[in-house]
Symmetry: none
Subunit: 223 residues, 2 copies
């Protein structure tokens, strides 16, 4: 049997909390009960709950019990966990909002070095032989466009989106929607974007990026 039971229990607990369990009085069951329920030693439950406590997800009081702090939606960790559940449709909507603007920024602001980095990612993606390799360099292409914007916050937002898209359900989706033909289409569209960037054409870059993302959306969501 795998180790790190406490980790698994912690994530299970988080799921159950964010799904609204124990919300009436905000009180979790006693550790001893949870231990029985999960079929593990109380020490293990304690460790798991300890993780939640470090998160700030939960507070413990001797003699009283363990209580959710989750009624506080302003905590950053709760935002992140909510973001992790983002649907592909929502994600594509935001990508179509942010990335064309980022491309336009990039066309205006990017240094030659940065543009070359984008081109390099593009070419590596075109040369990629298998799907995971392509996937990686495709993501890198988009990320390097964001890097050109010189706006660290925007770059981190893109990092966040990429992290979410790297989680397993997403990956299955991308794998299903992948084909050599589509890969070729993506490469052409990336090329078009790249051309606009090198020609310092913000409007063109914006439109090319939008067109590309519409293609991606069609392929991913089957619309």
């Amino acid at each position: 049997m795998p180790k790190l039971v406490a980790n698994d229990i912690a994530t299970m607990l988080k799921k159950r909390i964010s799904s609204g369990e124990w919300l009436e009085d905000g009180r979790m069951p006693p550790e001893r009960d949870l231990a029985v329920e999960f079929g593990v030693a109380r020490n293990t439950v304690r460790r798991a709950v300890g993780f939640l406590e470090n998160d700030g997800t939960v507070v413990r009081h001797v003699g009283r019990g363990t209580f959710l702090t989750a009624t506080n939606p302003t905590s950053i960790t709760s935002m992140v966990t909510r973001m992790e559940g983002t649907s592909p449709a929502d994600m594509m909507e935001i990508r179509q909002l942010l990335e064309p603007a980022a491309a336009a920024f990039a066309a205006t602001n990017a240094s030659a070095t940065e543009l070359n980095a984008v081109r390099e990612a593009h070419q590596t993606a075109c040369d990629a032989k298998d799907m995971p390799d392509f996937e990686h360099w495709d993501a890198e292409f988009h990320h390097r466009v964001f890097a050109c914007c010189r706006n660290d916050f925007l770059k981190e937002i893109h990092n966040l989106m990429r992290a979410i898209r790297n989680q397993s359900p997403w990956f299955e989706m991308k794998k299903r929607s992948f084909s050599e033909e589509r890969r070729q289409a993506y490469c052409d569209e990336h090329q078009a974007i790249l051309d606009c960037l090198f020609h310092r054409d913000p409007e063109g870059a914006k439109n090319a990026m939008l067109a590309h993302l519409r293609t991606v959306e069609r392929n991913l969501l089957g619309r």
Copy 2:
């Protein structure tokens, strides 16, 4: 030179990692298991994993296991901490990117209930007597516009931005730039946005929001 089996195994492992394997918990199988799976001695696997470790692809902990760094959940928290250092200028740039679009979305998609909630926040802000109170309802106004978009990810991004702007250095800044006159101007601009929302005028809402954010930027950054 003998052939480098370890090298081959390393590239196979990398492929499997980038193809999304072991992504759920970011944990690789024990070296002993991998050795069996590849039909190779554990020492060889160790060498292969050692390459990945040098790459930074992977981190190893005695007694715990080997973990991917790419999907390390701590990387998300590190993104958030980096975001916390966002400069006001960067923040305003992104607000001017996101919020007009959100306003346009809202004009198209919002339900009557949601629009009333926006109006309520606006009116409470107008009636606010002191700066922190106004500040809170001002933020709430913007947040409710985002809530109209029906895009949870976008809403959470705005939550993040709000959390960052609520930190102390920001607060000082806002306090310095606050004046009764400016508050009045903000209220007028909010009213203009609100009118566009109720008239279901996406283009108008977008422009009104952009104009408002330009005012805020001028006041905040002294430009």
